[in-house]
Symmetry: C2
Subunit: 158 residues, 2 copies
Amino acid sequence: MSLELKQAPVGDADAKQRLRIWIRLLKLSRRIESEIRERLRVEFSTTLPRFDVLAALYRKGEGMKMSELSQALMVSNGNVTGIIERLVQDGQVVRMPVEGDRRAMQVRLTEAGREAFARMAEVHEGWVNSMLGSLDDEDAARLLALLGNVSINGRKVK
Amino acid sequence: MSLELKQAPVGDADAKQRLRIWIRLLKLSRRIESEIRERLRVEFSTTLPRFDVLAALYRKGEGMKMSELSQALMVSNGNVTGIIERLVQDGQVVRMPVEGDRRAMQVRLTEAGREAFARMAEVHEGWVNSMLGSLDDEDAARLLALLGNVSINGRKVK
DNA sequence: CCTAAAAATTTTAAGCTTGAAATAAATTCG
DNA sequence: CGAATTTATTTCAAGCTTAAAATTTTTAGG
């Protein structure tokens, strides 16, 4: 009885609060994202999707298959096809056949791609650091933990 | 001296932590965003940008000028032009001349647009609520506060 | 072996997004 | 007034993104 009286309105207030979280989350990440896009464009003549691909490949010296890449980045296969195409044009990436499977393609950074990414990554870290500079150590730790504990469809974000 | 010895490494660790925050933030918001996009598409045959435009217009019965809209949504003018075009096609929005300024255009929801948005907004709130359901009340409040306190380029996110 | 199903990838069509250039109208100020 | 600047918007070219269809190759089962 007290359950019924309480459940509905409380649940509703919670929903509104979670909606506010989502709106704020979206606003913040869009703000940071567009700042990063702008700076990548102005300072390095590149784009965020290209940067993301390079980042994924940077950690895997042996390269990745197209499908691994699209999974890692959580984007569609067709999407990766186009980005890789342009990165190959730019000479930052090479495609190689996968031995034993003629359907698949292994993609790997060139030396130029490796160097370009290393250079960008360092600066990029500085951008993010300064954009989140208003968080002190404690708040940063708290925020990191809170974000890491959210789980969607049973899977944690972390 | 102790200052110098401490400053550099600590600053660096902080930068790494803030970078982790950014990565987690991005991952979470992309996950939520793509879930919402998918559901808007499947259940309402619409898209997130359209939904965002309707949401902005819903609160302003008198409508908004194109430039107000693009500012509110933090996207380019040209972007809004295209989305409005399609919403007009769909009969959810109308454009009207602004009296006293023949350059400007006032955009307003039609009754159909109003109803469609109201219906979607309710369901949408439920989606978000369930996606963020793993946060209890306390954590939700904390997260909301932390997000609201971040400021970029001197401007708070809130 | 050989055919059906599955897997890896590319292609396609449509829409989103941006910055820059173009238009058109309003405002400023000499 | 009239030229120059500013403001509101659209157009354009390029790239990103997706879902669905198509292609090619591999794998499984009879």
